[in-house]
């Protein structure tokens, strides 16, 4: 055996550079703008510059939140909303991944299923509500069905597109190494579609939060959407804003959770976003 000219020793190890692409304190930057706006408005309110009846100052919203939290009410509403989103998203995303994978990998399945699914996609999801209520009643099942429908389409489209976009040249590497269909899927297709699939799941989850509000506004006795309606009917803008704030935090946290859970799987990526 012959050893050829040696490159200078590479010293980087995976563990060492795991997070070098993302500064850990990055979220601090994201807080600057909303905090500054809140402080400014609070200051203007204290100085008597603004009328606070319809737009209560941050301190009042914080107080309302605190009261809701202390009474345990907030937890009830948050849990109700999260359960609906979780179930609806889980259902919609699972079916979306399955059907997307099917139509993405089989031309026959695509020709059979895709036209129908695209036609269904053209229907505004809210148009299903009356039917869902007739079929499933006014309680949880109809709400979860609506959320699932909303989450389904972006996931379905994303997964199908991701499979269609897999580089033929990379698939050929798998063929040259004689991978079976199953191994080809596991060792080449799955990792190749992962980035796009995660983007699809994130947009599906975003729609999940959108539809949970719709479902809860149309009739619920608990949930953050119920807090919104309740605040409107009782003229409590601070409660509405508190619920909106909760949505912002929950939505961001859920998205972050997907990102954090999948980041270790994507550290190989060589894309523009990494270097930013």
């Amino acid at each position: 055996m012959q050893t050829l000219s040696q490159e200078p020793k590479a010293s980087t190890r995976r563990g060492q550079r795991a997070d070098s692409a993302r500064p850990g304190g990055g979220f601090v930057y994201g807080l600057i703008l909303p905090l500054a706006a809140a402080l400014l408005y609070e200051g203007a309110f204290r100085a008597g510059l603004v009328q606070a009846r319809l737009l209560p100052p941050p301190s009042r919203i914080a107080e309302t939140l605190w009261k809701l939290a202390a009474s345990g009410e907030l937890a009830t509403h948050v849990i109700a909303t999260l359960l609906r989103v979780g179930l609806g998203f889980g259902l919609g995303a699972a079916v979306g991944v399955f059907l997307g994978a099917l139509t993405g990998s089989s031309a026959l399945a695509r020709r059979l299923l895709d036209p129908t699914l695209q036609a269904l996609r053209a229907i505004p999801s809210l148009a299903w509500v009356p039917l869902f209520i007739l079929w499933l009643g006014i309680f949880e099942p109809s709400k979860i069905a609506l959320i699932a429908v909303g989450c389904f389409f972006p996931v379905y489209l994303g997964v199908m597109g991701a499979i269609a976009n897999v580089d033929r040249k990379i698939v050929e590497v798998g063929r040259a190494f004689r991978l079976s269909r199953l191994k080809l899927a596991r060792r080449i297709l799955l990792p190749a579609i992962l980035p796009d699939t995660i983007v699809a799941l994130r947009s599906g989850l975003g729609l999940g939060f959108m539809f949970v509000v719709a479902a809860e506004i149309m009739g619920a006795s608990e949930g953050l959407g119920y807090l919104l309606v309740d605040g409107q009917q009782l003229g409590k803008p601070d409660q509405i804003l508190a619920a909106i704030l909760c949505f912002a935090v929950l939505g961001k946290a859920a998205d972050w959770l997907i990102l954090a859970a999948t980041r270790p799987l994507l550290s190989w990526q060589d894309s523009f976003a990494r270097s930013g």
Binding site: T3, L4, E7
Partner: protein, 262 residues
Amino acid sequence: MLSLAHLDKVYPNGAHALDDVSLDVEAGEIVALVGGSGCGKTTLLRLVSGLEAPTHGEVRVDGEAIFAPHPAIGFVFQEPRLLPWLSVAENIGFGLEHLPPGERRDLVEEALLKVGLAGYGARWPRELSGGQAQRVSIVRALVTRPKVLLMDEPFSALDALTRATLQDHLIALWEASQPTLLLVTHDVEEAAALADRAVVMQPRPGRVFADIPIPLPRPRDRLSPGFVEAKRAVLAALDGSLSQPSGGKSSKGSQSPAGSWW
């Protein structure tokens, strides 16, 4: 050892890529496939690898007909085609899944050492230079010890200096297990530096135009008269292959300088 018999390839769009190509290659022989663009070199390699099926004719390795990718045949693509989600070491071990992890690791370490990339195993492909990536892709194919190695212009994207270095690396790697090597190239110098034989092809449809032996000892001195003569002979045949579309086989002595043969 490797025998191609009357290979024809007509693509579904009607393109006649190969017309009655026959070629016999001995075990351990290095054959350079040279020819103008579009004369079917890549097509020929893909037929041999089993990635593509011929319209007529057949490919045999040690008497066994090839219909689909075969464990005895390794393929190095024109681009490195490393899997971006696997580390360098995992890429090299891609074809060794069937081995126990310890054995696989040893083979990969040895391979990295051989191409001068020891310590690079944990890197991602995106952290390699073009030449390093191509070296990894070459050992990925070699580490499974194929009897036949097919290479499609593996160095064409690299600068002249890197290319010459990698050609030396390749010969060193080849010497370890001496597989039969079928190498497509655009570069006459590359053919003269590596091959025992240069097969010059002619386009529209792709045919064998000339078969030029290069009986030089290794390691080869690129400035020796024999080397220069070999280069000249291949260049002359190449030139002839493009000026005689009807396909004569008598152009070995032609003195005319190569025109725009690509």
